[in-house]
Symmetry: C2
Subunit: 175 residues, 2 copies
DNA sequence: GTCTATAATCAGATAGAC
DNA sequence: GTCTATCTGATTATAGAC
């Protein structure tokens, strides 16, 4: 994960990966049939963990409360795993067609969680949004973007950043 | 640009680039000292063009009008150049330290344009934002994210998408 | 300005010893 | 389960012909 995030899939050799885990290159093939499958497995495990963790974190309640839960979950999950997040977004192009479709399906499943919260809130007039799919993509992009600049020792505490972003999300849906 | 965007810097060979422009690999070295400089030049030209185009597009007026101008400019500029945008964000890790600093400085210049609009609007109480820098990063991430899913022949027209996003931006700053 | 040829190195993956 | 050695082919960059 660390090597792929730092240099990109194509730039990392099986020899480098082997050195990182204290082996010779040949021994890696006891654990993966090839480099492509290794990337796919890392991405799949990340997406499956994301979905599983959200299934644990989600709450029942009013759409506004669900939206807040999703926002805070998404921020914290992503800020704690910057390498995985970077790979999950940037290395899609290095998956073969079949693997790409599988990862995209998992991503869709996750996006749908937010989309359904937005639809429910719109139906009850808790939110005022023109298009739930667009708001979903906008909110996820806004939140995920934090991983590109967030630093543990930055100017603002994570709690404060989280509150500010939640405010922006809330206002963006007209709540 | 197209090749780097599709496969990533490391995955693209000088032979592929040469074939794309109808040459042999050796002839490329008449135009660039090495592959790294070629990437840097592409990124620098993109950032300089972005800044130049915004200098043309920017307007005087109330902060809300300036924010709308920035939002619409950013959307249109980025949707028309998905390959450049992708490279400008994803290939930063493949620049050497010196080149990375130069590109980051140009990006900062661009971000500062939005940040100053937000600060001005906040001072006049046209906006209600807790932190101009955070709002800047949030808005840019939200808008730039459109390039990952936008298709010319998609469900919604560009004009409609633009209007919906502008609404979300406007509301996110409390205007 | 472009080509061909090549140097020097490195890639992913496999075979076989232990 | 891991190592060493190796196959095959690709890589960046350069040299020198034209």
């Amino acid at each position: 994960m660390r090597l792929f995030a730092k240099g990109g899939y194509a730039a990392v050799s099986m020899r480098q990966i082997a050195a990182e885990v204290g082996m010779q290159a040949g021994a890696l093939y006891l654990y993966t049939p090839d480099k492509q499958t290794l990337l796919y497995d890392l991405m799949r495990e990340h997406m499956e963990d994301l979905l599983a963790q959200w299934a644990q974190a989600r709450i029942d309640g009013a759409p506004l409360q669900q939206l807040e839960a999703f926002t805070r979950f998404h921020i914290n999950y992503h800020l704690e795993r910057p390498d995985q997040v970077f790979i999950a977004y940037m290395e899609l192009r290095n998956l073969n067609e079949e693997n790409f479709k599988r990862i995209e399906a998992l991503r869709r499943d996750y996006e749908r969680e937010l989309e359904e919260i937005l639809r429910a809130g719109n139906m009850k007039n808790d939110f005022t949004i023109a298009d739930a799919r667009l708001s979903t993509m906008a909110i996820i992009a806004m939140l995920t973007g934090m991983t590109t600049w967030y630093r543990e020792d930055g100017r603002l505490s994570r709690e404060r950043i989280e509150r500010i972003y939640w405010n922006m999300v809330r206002r963006s849906v007209g709540a």
